[in-house]
């Protein structure tokens, strides 16, 4: 359960706890993300992955624990302050701004987002990200007229336009056909090569193994394995969590 990096983490979480009534959705999670890393966050349904993202992005308030983003405590900050510090996320089910065009969706993110670097020109910045994710051709459409794949790309483009240092991708590649999937994996890799640290939440093991240098496996709100993807997935606890006791 140790990572090989020795530098200080860009995002460092310690003892995160989030409960809903009596349910411990996140139960004492320690989690470090390093500069430029692509980290997989996996686990069975209900293991606390989405809750983790909601807690880290400030959508849900933490019951206990510390979060440091580049040394700044974020656990009591409002979501827009966390975004200003350079944290961005996508949504599992795309949530575009429905009355704004694709371009305007990205533009508004470029207007806001991280407090630095500020874009010189919001229009140009938006255009850049539209081209990056491949939506320049439908930039003036409304979100409900484009395909699901394109809406997922819009989630990515909008998140990127906020100029994040840390990006959470919540099943952004789920539900795509094989060709779209290959394109998506390539895209995430290119985002990583821009220097953005990425946390990939995903059910598709192929995606995880393709993309991630490190894995964190959650079950019932606890970290049950952490480290190299192949090794992680062989650990007894992980096999049990996914397949049940009989296979361990």
């Amino acid at each position: 359960m140790s990572t090989t990096q020795t530098s200080t983490a860009l995002l460092s979480c310690h003892g995160l706890v989030k409960t809903f009534g009596g349910l411990h959705a996140v139960d004492g999670v320690d989690f470090d993300l390093y500069e430029g890393e692509i980290r997989g966050l996996v686990g069975p349904n209900g293991s606390g992955k989405s809750t983790m993202i909601n807690v880290l992005s400030g959508h849900l308030t933490l019951d206990d624990g510390q979060i440091r983003l580049d040394g700044v405590a974020t656990e009591r900050l409002q979501p827009h302050r966390i975004a200003e510090l350079g944290m961005a996320r996508t949504y599992q089910i795309p949530r575009p701004f429905g009355t704004l065009t694709v371009r305007e969706n990205v533009e508004v993110a470029a207007h806001f987002g991280a407090s630095e670097p500020q874009p010189d020109d919001v229009h140009d910045e938006a255009q850049r990200w539209l081209e990056f994710v491949g939506l320049a051709g439908v930039a003036d459409e409304l979100p409900d007229t484009i395909t699901l794949h394109q809406r997922k790309l819009l989630e990515l483009g909008r998140a990127l336009a906020t100029r994040p240092r840390v990006l959470f991708l919540d099943e952004v590649l789920a539900g795509l056909n094989p060709r779209e999937l290959a394109h998506g994996i390539d895209l995430v890799r290119r985002i990583g090569s821009l220097g953005v640290s990425i946390v990939v939440v995903e059910h598709l093991m192929r995606v995880i193994l393709d993309l991630c240098e490190h894995l964190t496996v959650l079950n019932f709100g606890k970290v049950i394995a952490q480290g190299e993807p192949e090794a992680c997935l062989r650990e007894d606890a992980v096999v049990k969590a996914y397949l049940g006791d009989a296979h361990a």
Binding site: P79, H80, F97, E104, A139, D140, E141, T145, A159
Partner: protein
């Protein structure tokens, strides 16, 4: 922020010409002697433009649908009335104070609904209504303010420069309308406006991409309250006898909503169109002795607008400005030359313009930009960004793809001139 992008010189020039023409109108009236009534009518148009725009920058832009316009309007009205009638203030200094009172009421309401209890949707609407009715009840029962008998507002002093009372109302009403429209225009084209539109569509996502949602909602609520109250203060002079029915009744709230919905809530000039249209209709119906039928007509207009023009008149007008504008001009000039009064002619012009506006595209000469986006993946989008998704649109899109596309050599080039 690029000033030329916010204020394109051609747009500024057009509006400056209109503004100067309106400024000169009372002088022209003095010389040519066309009916003074026109100035009173125009004052009321300005008044409704200000009120509807004030409502729209809050409710249209941020999506927080308010029924509480009267809280600000009535608050401003009573501020001017009390300062003027009991403390002998001049008119002009009461207006900033009225604006402050309106801003204060909005600010406190905002703290309650946005911070203490995060209200939205219908609960927000009900709460704003309750605030307006509550303040009305307070004023009605508290003798220091009114006490239920109403207040007669006598003649207030104002600079002689502004002419007689009608002219003074006209000039000040115009000024307030211009301030409101300028505010709406600048907000729409700024980062602030982008943030408000994001809040309207999905507040959680807006917050997540970095929009300071609480601060923005408070700010737009306060500005909206200040504008409505200043305009209400001036309107006290026109009304003359102020009671809680006038100040805090439902009429203003209903009308500003009607005007904004008909005109369109996505554009800064939507409420302007709605205010001009509805005030003209109301005025002509009353003039012709059909004041009772007016509500039926307004209801019909509202039904037509909500069924066929989801983005309001403004959205459709932005897509296809020329035919309705031509229709208006023809209708206006035709009836005016035939000897009808200017306002009646304007009403006919609007009627013709509206009919043209409702004509489906397939009955009109085709134009390149109507088929815009036809070559893009996903096919049929019409990226006006105006939020129009009405049935007429869908119908013509299909036709557009089949019929127009092959014969139109220019259509594959994407238009991006937004």
């Amino acid at each position: 922020m690029n000033l030329r992008r916010i204020f394109p010189p051609r747009v500024v020039a057009v509006w400056l010409v209109i503004y100067v023409a309106l400024l000169l109108l009372p002088t022209v009236q003095g010389i040519t002697g066309f009916p003074l009534y026109n100035l009173i009518f125009l004052y009321l148009v300005f008044f409704w433009i200000t009120q509807a725009t004030s409502w729209n920058i809050l409710s249209g832009y941020s999506g927080y649908f308010s029924f509480g316009q009267a809280a600000f309007y009535g608050g401003g009205m009573y501020t001017t009335t009390i300062l003027g009638s009991r403390y002998d203030w001049d008119l002009l200094p009461t207006l900033p104070v009225a604006a402050l009172v309106g801003a204060g009421i909005a600010f406190l309401t905002g703290l309650l609904v946005f911070r203490l209890r995060k209200l939205s949707g219908e609960i927000f609407a009900l709460f704003t209504l309750a605030v307006a009715l509550g303040i009305g009840a307070l004023v009605q029962n508290w003798r220091v303010l009114d006490g239920g008998r109403g207040i007669v507002l006598g003649q207030l002093d104002y600079p002689d420069l502004l002419g007689d009372t009608t002219e003074m109302l006209y000039y000040l009403g115009l000024t307030l309308a211009v301030i409101a429209l300028l505010a709406a225009y600048v907000v729409q084209r700024s980062r602030f406006g982008a943030g408000l539109f994001a809040i309207r569509d999905d507040e959680k996502v807006a917050e997540a991409i970095g929009v300071p949602t609480f601060r923005y909602k408070m700010l737009i609520f306060t500005v909206s309250g200040a504008l409505a109250a200043a305009s209400g203060g001036l309107h006290a002079v026109q009304v003359g006898f102020i009671s809680t029915d006038v100040g805090f009744g439902l009429r203003v709230a209903v009308f500003v909503i009607l005007m904004s919905v008909v005109g369109g809530r996505r554009h800064w000039f939507g409420p302007l169109l709605g205010a001009v249209l509805i005030q003209t209709v109301t005025d002509r119906m009353a003039g012709a002795g059909y004041a009772e039928a007016n509500q039926i007509v307004l209801a019909a207009v509202l039904i037509a607008a909500t069924l066929f023009l989801r983005g309001g008149i403004s959205a459709r007008l932005v897509e296809r400005p020329l035919p309705p504008v031509l229709g208006f001009v023809l209708g206006f000039v035709g009836t005016f030359v035939a000897g009808y009064p200017a306002i009646t002619a304007a009403a006919w012009g609007m009627a013709v313009g509206l009919v043209v506006l409702f004509v489906p595209d397939r009955f009109l000469p085709q134009r390149r930009s109507w088929t815009r986006g036809g070559s893009a993946p996903g096919g049929d989008g019409d990226g006006s960004g105006a939020g129009t998704d009405d049935g007429i649109e869908d119908g013509h899109r299909i036709e557009g793809d089949e019929v127009i596309e092959p014969s139109d050599p220019a259509s594959p080039t994407k238009e991006t001139g937004r």
